[in-house]
Amino acid sequence: MFARFRRKYDLTDVILWLIGAGLLLAIVYGSFVTLSSGKYTAEQWLNFVIFGLAQGGIYGLIALGYTMVYGILGMINFAHGEFFMFGTFGAFFMADYLAGNGMLESNPFLSIVLMLLVAMLVSATIAVLTERIAYRPLRRAPRLVPLITAIGVSYFLQYTARGLFGSGVEAFPNVPALSGAVALGPISLQRSQIAVFISTAVLLAILWLMVSKTKVGRAIRSVAEDKDAAALMGVDVDRTIATSFAVGGIMAGAAGVMYGLVFRQVAFYMGFVPGIKAFTAAVLGGIGNLPGAVLGGLILGVIESVGPSLFLDGIGIPSPHQLKDGIAFTVLVLILIFRPSGILGERLSKRA
């Protein structure tokens, strides 16, 4: 019996499961303590969840780009968070301009559409250029090479933004139509959060239609399945990959606008942490899986927003909100160790 067990699992597995069980115990215990103490009201919890969902929607939009690129090239595009950052800057300058001539106030809907367009254009352009200049020549290189390149691109873009736009944090202009809250029964929703929900849903629907119904989508899926076979079938592989970078960039640009509206700030370093979190979301939902990316984003957003109060507080950790990012990274580590195929499973071919 024991011999059979030893044969199937080695010591490292046992240690892993012990760590996992320990964490689970801590979470359950912490949650129990917090909930039984009644420190937070039901409305507060609900607000945590809603805030988490709004944040998660943004992660989800960014995660779409990670998931598409990973699905097609099998590479982690570390620079994707920077595409998002540039998109936010694009939206910021557009918003600044519109605020200057009063459009932001008089015609908020058109303003937001314009901001979206600019942000998407900026992000998509940078994404496509990055692919063309840095990634395309390395498609046959050993796997470490494109990965390191992506890290290099990420820092290059980040510090380009710092040099171009300055190292400070800029305040995103206020869109009057989106400030304030709407009461929906017992819960109150920030208008900007509603905007995030609607935009995420619409964009995801468009993307879904594109990938599943159009010729471009078919090309993307076929390249993800097998590049060589797709090429033999007359699919222009280079162009398809560039398209998927563009689409990923567009989603990141949209996420940038949402981020600006909700968090009201821009800075050159803002792409890094959301980038990693979005990657976490992508893995959580099953990398290569489009709806999974958004689902993963929402789940991560909620965990991150509820977690500090729910279990860290309960375990007795002082100022738990400092560890909000820590929770996200812990989720990342756990999901990669215990279930790298994610919740919904991987859609695209598995890579070693």
Binding site: I15, M75, Q322, L332, V333, I337
Partner: protein
């Protein structure tokens, strides 16, 4: 690789465009302006001008190289076109800054930049034309240089770069050089014209001779009987050690300070080299082990932190050092076990996650009584030797040197052993390595723990040298920094680590203007290295073959007859 098609002049335009974008970025991120006060040759040319002209030159070089196979006039024309394009884009920028009020978006798009781009106080149009002309001239020079014999071309380029470097390092070299030579070569800012010419000729002569004779020398060395060869290498090693021993006295306290910093990175990079270079595991959370070494040293030796002091007595440097290294080693094993089970690329991101978790935990109030929170810890012990305390950078240098020698010895021995081979196997093909009965997790763990230990050693000394510890010095940028050192030097190569650390850590410290753009340049350097020289500046023979896969994609390994069937399953 794309199919070769005949060269077209539009390709030259494209290269010019890429070069132009690079030049625009250099101007707009503020790098040009930062370097405009730095004269290379006093009152003749500034570093900013050298940089922008250099971009035009390189863009033209690419275009001309690509056009090599076509007619000579086309080569020259494409060089000129590419160079002129760079000038044109810069001229357009200079003209557009004020009318478009670009300052509103780009913080560096100001008057000074315009003045820098349009010298001689010309009217904008004429200034612009001059810019285009200079670009074209650079293009012409680049095209011309492609026709020189390779030996001549390489020595020319090396001596140009050399002169610029010597000019940039004025502050440092003036201190070291004898007074009269210094006065001949340097003005208060930049080289004298005569100095520049003499330096150029000198470097040119030396590089030319060396490049021409190098093969001869190495061949003679190879042909020596083994015994004689051993004597020679022994003599060389001894000389090197003597020089290293005397170095701090020769270069003074400031340069010793810089050497110390380079040294910390060399030890760290030698450690990461085992993880990334030998075993092929991309660890982006490497800074965590550096931090653990530093914090262990700090917590064990500081008089602060009453809670800790109540339990553990205050130790001195030597007592704390083994604990610091051990802590890093244990952390390496503990983190390694879960991390190393993950597949491929996920390892990079999971280590990144772990590194961030550790930083956040250290920063948090939760552990403040033990680790000092955001304020950190001060009063870390310095090494003592007998009764004297080491606190000058020159004295500290020797401790670091010993650390480097230990790290070098260990990694060099590991590399050429059964372990080194097992790591190579894992790096090249995990499945096959497993089929050779190599325990993947076990050997990865060994690599990980070795790397962590060396990082811990470096961290412990770093903490002691600094005397105080703040969590901000342990962010992910340090990991990227070490990785960049490896990449530039050459993954897996030990001498490469030294070269990489000197170039990436030493140079920026000596060029104060550069520091602000350090990360920007590192990012670009990583990309450019991966695209054009993935094996690094001082590569290891195996690695050249391995990383240059795209040129010769194992042609002979693939079934030439096409008879082998596609794999089942």
């Amino acid at each position: 690789m794309s199919i070769d098609r005949p060269f077209r002049l539009t390709d030259a335009v494209l290269y010019g465009l890429y070069g132009g974008i690079a030049a625009l970025l250099i101007a707009l991120v503020g790098m040009a302006e930062a370097f405009s006060k730095r004269e290379i040759i006093a009152d003749v040319i500034s570093m900013a001008q050298v940089m922008l002209m250099g971009v035009a030159f390189v863009a033209a070089l690419f275009a001309a190289n690509k056009a090599q196979s076509s007619h000579r006039s086309i080569t020259v024309a494409s060089g000129i076109i590419a160079g002129a394009m760079v000038g044109l884009l810069l001229a357009l920028l200079a003209l557009a800054i004020e009318p478009l009020n670009m300052r509103a978006m780009f913080v560096n798009a100001n008057r000074q930049l315009v003045a820098l781009l349009l010298p001689f106080d010309q009217t904008p149009i004429i200034g612009g034309v001059i810019l285009v002309g200079v670009g074209a001239l650079m293009g012409l020079a680049a095209a011309a240089i492609t026709y020189l014999p390779s030996l001549l071309r390489r020595s020319l380029l090396i001596s140009l770069v050399g002169v610029v470097l010597i000019a940039l390092l004025e502050d440092v070299l003036v201190v070291v050089l004898p007074k009269n030579i210094g006065r001949f070569v340097y003005e208060s800012n930049g080289l004298t014209i005569a100095g520049a010419v003499v330096l150029f000729v000198l470097i040119f002569a030396i590089t030319y001779l060396w490049l021409a004779q190098r093969d001869n020398v190495t061949r003679r060395f190879d042909r020596m009987p083994p015994k004689q060869r051993r004597i020679w290498s022994f003599a060389a090693t001894i000389t090197l050690l003597v020089v290293l021993f005397l170095l701090p006295q020769l270069i003074g306290p400031y340069l010793s300070e810089v050497s110390d910093l380079v040294g910390f990175y060399i030890i760290m990079a030698l450690g990461l080299n085992v993880v990334v270079g030998f075993a092929g595991l991309l660890d982006l959370g490497y800074v965590a082990f550096f931090a653990i070494g530093a914090y262990t040293m700090a917590v064990l030796t500081t008089p602060e932190l009453p809670i800790v002091r109540a339990v553990i007595p205050q130790l001195n440097f030597w007592q704390a050092l083994p604990f610091a290294v051990l802590a890093a080693l244990i952390a390496g094993v503990l983190l390694g076990v879960p991390v190393l089970k993950t597949r491929g690329d996920y390892l990079a991101i999971i280590t990144l996650g772990f590194g961030e978790i550790i930083r956040l935990v250290v920063l948090s109030d939760a552990l403040k009584p033990f680790l000092g929170g955001a304020q950190g810890v001060t009063g870390v012990a310095r090494p003592t030797l007998g009764s004297s305390v080491t606190d000058s950078p020159q004295e500290f240098y020797y401790f670091i040197l010993i650390g480097i020698l230990i790290a070098w010895f260990i990694t060099a021995r590991l590399k050429n052993s059964r372990l080194g081979r097992a790591w190579m196997a894992i790096r090249e093909d995990e499945d096959v390595a497993a089929a050779m009965s190599i325990n993947l997790v076990g050997y990865k763990l060994l690599a990980f723990a070795t790397g962590a230990t060396l990082a811990g050693l470096s961290g412990a000394m770093f903490g002691s040298k600094l005397g105080s510890m703040v969590p901000a010095s342990f962010n992910v940028l340090v990991s990227i920094n070490v990785l960049a050192v490896l990449i530039v030097g050459g993954m897996g190569s030990l001498p490469g680590v030294i070269v990489g650390a000197l170039v990436l850590i030493g140079l920026p410290e000596l060029l104060r203007e550069f520091n602000e753009f350090r990360w920007w340049v590192y990012g670009a350097v990583l990309v450019v290295m991966m695209l054009y020289k993935p094996e690094g500046l001082w590569p290891e023979a195996t690695r050249v073959r391995e990383l240059r896969e795209d040129e010769e994609p194992n042609e002979s390994i693939e079934d030439p007859t096409g008879l082998a069937k596609p794999s089942e399953a």
